[in-house]
Amino acid sequence: MSEMSNRERFLAKMAGQETDRTPVFCADQTATYEQMEHLQAFWPEAHCKAKDMATLASGAYHMLGFDAVRVPFCQTIEAEVLGCTPKHAGREGLPSIDVHPFKIGDPVKPLPDNFLELGRIPELINAVKMLKEEVGDKVAVIGGIIGPYSIAASLVGVIDILKMSFKNPEKLVPYLDLAEQAGTALAQALVEAGADVICIEDMMASMDMISPKIYKTSVAPWETRQIKSISVPVILHICGNLDLIIDDIAETGVTAISVEPKVDAPAAKEKLSKYDRFIPLIGGVDAVTTLYSGSPEQVAQVTVDAINQGYDMIAPGCSIPPGSTLENLKAMVIGAQRQKAD
């Protein structure tokens, strides 16, 4: 078939249609130090200012050849607005949450009416608008939000949420409700700003953190509610081995699932094939052992193998380590082209 544009390729695969080759992108953060130098857009400004955020994100298209660009880079924007204190990490790192504002049991106020005007949210919305204007006709634009369980973990602290998920999950409901409403409101705003796709990162819902039972009780109901409220295709990214919960994830109604290579891809594909909609499996390239530590040739080969194994869209299994080389990142696209030629 004739060559598609990056945007066409990405959106066609999300919709379960035929593509000229397997799309390549990253469901999580895409910035690297080399892109920052080349584009002259750096952290921490790119975490806070729309222009720098959009410029740095556009590197995924201009420099890496990915089929989608994505903002933001960090996972703290909603949590900060809900009262968490972020700790900034300068030029090299991502902000993290330093202070959790709630102890479990503390009362929760409703989501502020002006939520979308607070903190860095207007900058994120503007960054999506800029990306849409500048590259949106050539490449898909992904708006990133954080999943309900992960925002709730920022609100009450990781250890406390894990313990309570096990002991008395009912007590988490107010925080999960607030977290879901925040993420959903942000997602809708990003869609209005031009995002073609929303990616929910719910990294705390990993089986490295919780159990399948906790996923069913304290995660899936809120993800489901959120996904139902979003009017564009939704990718759900969860880290770790998801073999035990692939069906639960599919049942949230999500469009596509982004996973780490720890997941048994053929088994996951088989489970997903039972649903009456096409659910793309995204991933295949380990962010550390392959993308960061490997050679370009290894990255390309892993990409070819991942496609042959059943991955529908190629992506790192997690956030791109910012020290990864351009050559390695571009090798994912080279691998996808080579696989098509084989």
Binding site: Q29, E92, L162, K163, S165, K213, I214
Partner: protein
């Protein structure tokens, strides 16, 4: 001899049936078994009663060794088999630590420590759960742990090493964006001619990465930490420990 019905424990945890059929390490001593059960159960409320009752027949050191640590070993086994997930192990480790504290009070002094280990979670990383397990296992095995916590800057690790003179340092990272701090720590330490074993582990950390810098030893899981610390105390160098565990 007491028989303890572990089935009730497993039912409560909604566990898979095959686990119940496997042999579970238990104590024939009813008092110690109650301590083990409280740890496996993660029942911190039951710990004071169980530990205090055990003092009637056991000295505190034995309760630590044959009750609390044994219970945690059982939890580790369930974790290894994919039956227990992280929340259960955290709750169990809280119970174990509460029990150790009661035993130490009874002894009137802290257990003699084999050496100091500094543990930390990488700067920018808020996932310090792996580190918590490492801390618990090191403490249970008689090491003094200097817990620097999560999201620790490189400088803080370097100054803690100067201050506490540990036998070993550990670092954990679960995020792919944070692990590069480990290489910086190792190079700062070796630059100061300090060739301490530096054990790095966690979801984002690979054998290849950790073995790419001097003094780095890859920790596959938290359970390896006490053995590595024992080796460090016995005078093994980082390269010998790396050879042993990373082969």
């Amino acid at each position: 001899m007491a028989t303890v019905d572990l089935n009730s424990v497993f039912v409560r945890y909604d566990l898979k049936k095959e686990v119940i059929e496997k042999s579970v390490s238990t104590s024939k001593d009813v008092l110690l078994q109650a301590v083990i059960t409280a740890v496996v159960d993660g029942d911190e409320d039951a710990i004071p009663g169980a530990v205090n009752a055990a003092f009637a027949a056991h000295d505190p050191m034995d309760i630590i060794k044959d009750g609390l640590v044994k219970g945690m070993a059982e939890v580790s086994r369930l974790w290894d088999e994919g039956v227990y997930f992280l929340p259960q192990t955290i709750i169990s480790s809280d119970a174990m630590l509460a029990g150790i504290e009661i035993c130490e009070e009874k002894m009137g002094k802290a257990m003699d420590k084999k050496g100091v280990v500094i543990t930390h979670t990488a700067e920018g990383d808020i996932h310090d759960l792996g580190q918590k397990i490492v801390n618990a296992l090191l403490r249970a095995n008689g090491f003094e742990v200097v817990d620097l916590g999560k999201d620790v800057p490189v400088d803080d690790v370097i100054s803690a090493v100067k201050k506490y003179k540990p036998v070993m340092v550990t670092g954990t990272a679960l995020m792919t964006t944070t692990m590069t701090a480990f290489k910086k720590i190792a190079s700062r330490l070796t630059h100061d001619h300090n060739e301490l074993p530096f054990v790095c582990g966690g979801g984002a950390v690979s054998l290849e990465y950790v073995n790419s810098f001097d003094t780095g030893i890859w920790g596959k899981d938290a359970q390896q930490a006490p053995g590595m610390a024992e080796d460090a105390v016995s005078g093994k160098s980082w390269s010998q420990i790396r050879e042993k565990y990373n082969g």
